[in-house]
């Protein structure tokens, strides 16, 4: 608790700096990453983030110390080389994109690890902490580093905001952009530069291995919540910042803990929550929608059974008779009976179930839709009468009054369905 208060009240100005840094980093990378996720270029982010490692090591070797300018430039140049090689190989060979990206990623990363080992064997006392670049350590960020990383993050955010309509066009319909005269090649180049910069600013805090997650996961998780680009960018940024701050806090409390993996754990958790609980697109709300639909079909079938009883001259059905006509579904039927009593469509007298006037009208409506649809299939699609029942059984629950009116009109208010059964109307007496 003490740690918590100490961290979040920012008594220590260096903590405040780190939190500002991680916030800017989170916003910048989520912002770029969301566009590349929409552009279906998620793998490229992964390749770039692995490919900056040799640049970091070369920057260190040249500077002889952990000089942020050397390291950032080295990382940027090797990331740029990887991006350029990917597109050059794609346009000059017949290799597929996934093969190219996988090779570039592993070759660059392998070379980076070799360089890292060489540095560690060299006995340079400055090399301590260099392997933090693999998994990241936000707490180890110094104030002078922050000016560079934070400054670059601000640059990314401003550029993306200025070019918002251009980047949207790049992702949605680049050919149209070229047709209206926009320099789409240049815009693609700027976007790639921003993508590399977003990776570069994350190497100290998150590490090269996991930076791709910070690029792609926020956008992918936010996609469950909205269908609008503006909201998507805001939600993605929010997810990214929350995870960044929590990850940093954990590395602060447990000094041996690298930041990157914890940020990714938080992000994955947010993605999982989005996947399960987001309204409309989440698994839970889809399951609930499906369940309530299934319950409605059960209720509809019960109403139909009571209607059939009326057609055969029985004013009511006993509960036993109902159980008999729906074997294996007794608990569902009990539920349906309770629901229908509550909504006033049936009444229960002793053990006898009777349709109310309202219930009669609703039951007629369902039977009518069923038989109208059967007739439509038979007359307009030339489907034999013994083949029309199954689809009608499914569609009777979803046909709207609008479609019903269309069917009535198209079929000229028919009296009988293909099985010569009466199509019930509200004014019919049963």
């Amino acid at each position: 608790m003490e740690d918590f208060l100490y961290f979040f009240t920012f008594q220590d100005s260096s903590i405040a700096f780190v939190v500002i840094g991680i916030t800017l980093l989170g916003l910048g990378s989520a912002y770029v990453g969301t566009y590349s996720f929409l552009d279906k270029k998620a793998l490229l982010g992964d390749a770039i983030s692995h490919a900056v490692l040799p640049g970091i090591c070369l920057g260190f070797i040249l500077a002889g110390e952990k000089n942020p300018i050397y390291i950032v430039s080295g990382a940027f140049l090797s990331g740029a080389l990887a991006t350029f090689l990917t597109s050059w190989i794609r346009s000059n060979t017949k290799l597929s994109e996934d093969a190219i990206i996988a090779s570039i990623l592993s070759i660059f990363f392998g070379f980076g690890v070799v360089l890292l080992t060489v540095i560690q064997k060299s006995g340079n006392p400055e090399m301590a902490g260099l392997n933090q670049f693999i998994f990241g350590n936000a707490i180890a960020i110094l104030e002078e580093d922050l000016y560079i990383y934070g400054g670059l993050a601000v640059l990314i955010i401003i550029t993306l905001t200025l070019f918002q309509k251009e980047f949207s066009m790049l992702v949605f319909n680049p050919d149209f952009g070229r047709a209206v005269g926009y320099p789409m090649g240049l815009i693609r180049l700027i976007f790639n530069v921003l993508m590399i910069l977003a990776v570069v600013i994350g190497i100290q805090a998150i590490g090269v291995v996991l930076m791709a997650a910070l690029l792609i996961t926020p956008g992918a998780a936010a996609r469950f919540w909205t269908d609008r680009l503006h909201k998507l960018l805001i939600i993605a940024g929010l997810f990214s910042v929350i995870s960044g701050i929590i990850g940093t806090y954990i590395s602060f409390v447990l000094p041996q803990m690298p930041t990157g993996p914890w940020v990714v754990v938080c992000l994955s958790l947010l993605a999982l929550i989005s996947f399960l609980f987001a309204p409309k697109k989440g698994v839970l709300s889809r399951t609930i929608a499906r369940q309530s639909y299934l319950k409605k079909t059960n209720r509809d079938h019960l109403l139909k059974a009571l209607h059939h009883g009326l057609e055969n001259g029985k004013k009511y059905l006993s509960i036993e008779e109902i159980y008999e006509s729906f074997p294996y579904q007794i608990s569902k039927i009990k539920q349906s009976i309770d629901d229908l009593i509550k909504s006033g469509l049936i009444t229960k007298n002793q053990k006898l179930i009777i349709l109310t006037d309202e219930g009669k009208s609703e039951a007629k409506r369902i039977v009518r839709l069923h038989r109208l649809w059967e007739l439509y299939l038979n007359e307009y699609m030339n489907i034999a009468p013994d083949h029309v029942h199954d689809t009608a059984e499914k569609l009777e629950h979803i046909l709207t009054p609008e479609v019903e009116a269309l069917l009535e009109k198209r079929l000229n208010f028919p009296k009988l369905d293909p099985h010569q059964e009466n199509i019930p109307r509200d004014y019919d007496d049963l």
Partner: protein, 262 residues
């Protein structure tokens, strides 16, 4: 049968286009009158879309040139509007109908500038023209094929151009939408605009278009509809096998370079 025109709105001179090694358009040479509804007809793989893309500068020709209003494309770009194939974009992109139609105003707006009230008004009036006013805020993935096609046409209208190039605007569209789109195109040509449409159905083409271009890797015909629609030309476009052309294409493919490139 190729009818050439004086003072054409569009002149294509000996245009050759190749993808990688294989030529897809051979020496297309034609000129088109203004204020007409013009159809490009031909079988699958005949190079219809490629011709439009070459006019729009989206593919680089191996030879020949295109002149529009007697000028180069760059000089008159703001007067030309392009409707790409509906399948060429990802309709799951998080955008509303209005967002997409607003893109039509981006050309005149220029880089950096944000669309404002004026652009929104243009977009709304174009949506009204294609009968999509009630879908302004709809997510584009929820639209039917015909509605997506209308959104693309509204976006083209928002460009306020004089020459319209449309790639298969009738593809995946039901009969009533087809008629509605066709009537709209008729209105546009009545106002003096020129509309060039890639189309696949010969029967409706006869009724729709004032001028027809028939294409099958090479130019078979270009002229007023009643002069061009003949059994012989249709057979040349759709029926005739181009054994010789295919053989030469194979020859070129086997080389390491494309001899047709400048």
């Amino acid at each position: 049968m190729i009818t050439q025109i004086d003072n054409p709105i569009l002149e294509i001179h000996d245009l050759i286009v190749s993808y990688d090694q294989s030529p897809v358009l051979w020496n297309v040479d034609l000129s088109l009158p203004s204020g007409k509804l013009i159809g490009i007809l031909g079988p699958n793989g005949a190079g219809k879309s490629t011709l439009i893309k070459a006019i729009m500068g989206l593919v680089t020709p191996s030879g020949g040139y295109v002149k529009i209003f007697d000028k180069t494309l760059e000089q008159v770009r703001s007067k030309i509007s392009y409707v790409p194939q509906r399948e060429s974009v990802d309709w799951n992109f998080p955008a509303s109908v209005l967002d997409v139609v607003m893109m039509g105003t981006y050309g005149k707006l220029g880089l950096f500038k944000r669309p404002g009230k004026k652009e929104k008004e243009i977009a709304l009036s174009c949506l009204d023209q294609v009968g999509m006013m009630s879908f302004v805020n709809r997510q584009i993935s929820e639209l039917s094929g015909g509605q997506q096609q209308r959104v693309f046409i509204a976006r083209a209208l928002a460009q306020e151009a004089d020459l319209y190039l449309m790639d298969e605007p009738f593809a995946g569209v039901d009969m009533s939408t087809e008629t509605a789109i066709f009537n709209l195109l008729k209105e546009m040509t009545a106002k003096g605009k020129t509309v060039i449409v890639v189309h696949h159905d010969i029967h409706s083409a006869m009724n729709y278009f004032d001028w027809i271009i028939m294409l099958n890797l090479h130019l078979v015909a270009s002229g007023p509809t009643d002069e061009v629609i003949s059994e012989e030309l249709l057979r040349k476009t759709y029926g005739g096998k181009l054994n010789l052309l295919t053989k030469v294409t194979d020859l070129i493919k086997q080389k390491d370079f494309n001899p047709l490139k400048n």
